[in-house]
Symmetry: D2
Subunit: 139 residues, 4 copies
């Protein structure tokens, strides 16, 4: 359907050696195949995050509740988008650290926006967005 | 095993009429039976809340996140007892109101203490503790 | 507003002794006051469970997942009422026992029906319904 | 610290064109930079999934509860690993589809194993593992 192009990548040789080990462990036949796979993944992810189709997602954040008013800020932020947030589960990890997992439903771009706002909040140590489909179109 | 005593209760006649209607709807044969049932329930509840046996409970609270620093206060409070709190689910009900459901595991008296502290926090509109057993002793 | 009636209750004297201890611990001045309080509670509960006002509730059930097809039955049942169930949190208590906490929103009578169906399912060891309001009418 | 290597990738030209658009939207200066970034991500992910350090994760699965006994199978499977699963939130998406989000804590390799087992279960339409750290080592 479409022609094949070839392009060159320059990289640290240490990084490449580790990547080659990973590739062989995962059973890819060569680097091109592995990198095409990663490119496709990143395109699907980007399409979802920019799309207007209804998606489901989980937003996971880790933070310390000792950071002054951070719980307040995160709660206010979530209420602004309350129509897209089905539920938030909060796990008290230890004396200091909180894990919050939001289950979100809405357009990809809306979910992405909520995720960026939460993960970008000062004091949030780590955050991740994981998108999936509503299952309606899956056989 | 034990003798029967009889004692008198004074009450508003309106309240009694409504209670009689409820009793008949629920299929109790008379007031004594219905009240004995309520007394037994309250004793079981009190026994659980004072006990050192391992129990499970849900603590449900409703509050407005607009109350200044209330999210912070509730999060700090929960972290103090983090070893007894399995998870907290937060539902953003509307622009203002939050529902929080804690799933708690521990001695009855410990759960009761956590519940009293949370429900008694200034700004919490409504709260409830519901206790159950771990299922180990149930056939 | 309304006249005072007096009526008699017959009960096991052991039960009454324990109840008297509970009453004094809880700070009620006499049995009539404590029993009027329980009657009022049961009327509020019944009103909520029969009402068409929007309520929030948690339904808590404990069961063994070894009971054949019980997980399947409970999941099917919950899907029938999926529009009223916001989320279900499942805690794997040990090798055998499950705790499930449903957060439910809807008319009181609808929530009561869901709760009765789930708790009445063969194999469910213990269950509880706890109702609260949406907070909209609370100042 | 380490020398630079150059290697070639062959790919469909359509795929490459879309990738170039994504790269420029995301602000990478060239393909090498974007691909090194993806390689590093995949190495971190692989390290986490193979490691014995304590991690946190969410496992998200979508399935139809109409698939015979699937709820039973998934519940049994989760109970086998109950010590690593903090909580499972189940959302009833519609008449047919379920979303389940597990919050998991344990060694990376253990979490990866649980995730592979669940996502690989016949009837599960879609699944995702998202790993994060416990926050202890983050400043």
């Amino acid at each position: 359907m479409s022609e094949i192009t070839r392009f060159g990548i320059s990289t640290d040789s240490n990084l490449l050696r580790k990547f080659d080990q990973l590739i062989s462990r995962k059973g890819f036949t060569n680097r091109s195949e592995a990198i095409r796979d990663m490119i496709r993944d990143s395109l699907v992810q980007a399409e979802w995050e920019a799309g207007s189709e209804e998606m489901l997602g989980t937003i996971t954040i880790v933070y310390s509740h000792h950071t002054r008013e951070l719980s307040d800020v995160l709660t206010h932020l979530q209420h602004r988008y309350y129509q897209s947030i089905i539920s938030t589960t909060h796990i008290h990890l230890d004396d200091h650290n909180c894990l919050e997992v939001l289950i979100v439903r809405g357009k990809g771009e809306e979910i992405k926006k909520i995720s960026d706002r939460l993960i970008g909040t000062k004091g949030v140590k780590h955050g991740k967005l994981s998108l999936t489909t509503t299952g309606k179109d899956l056989s």
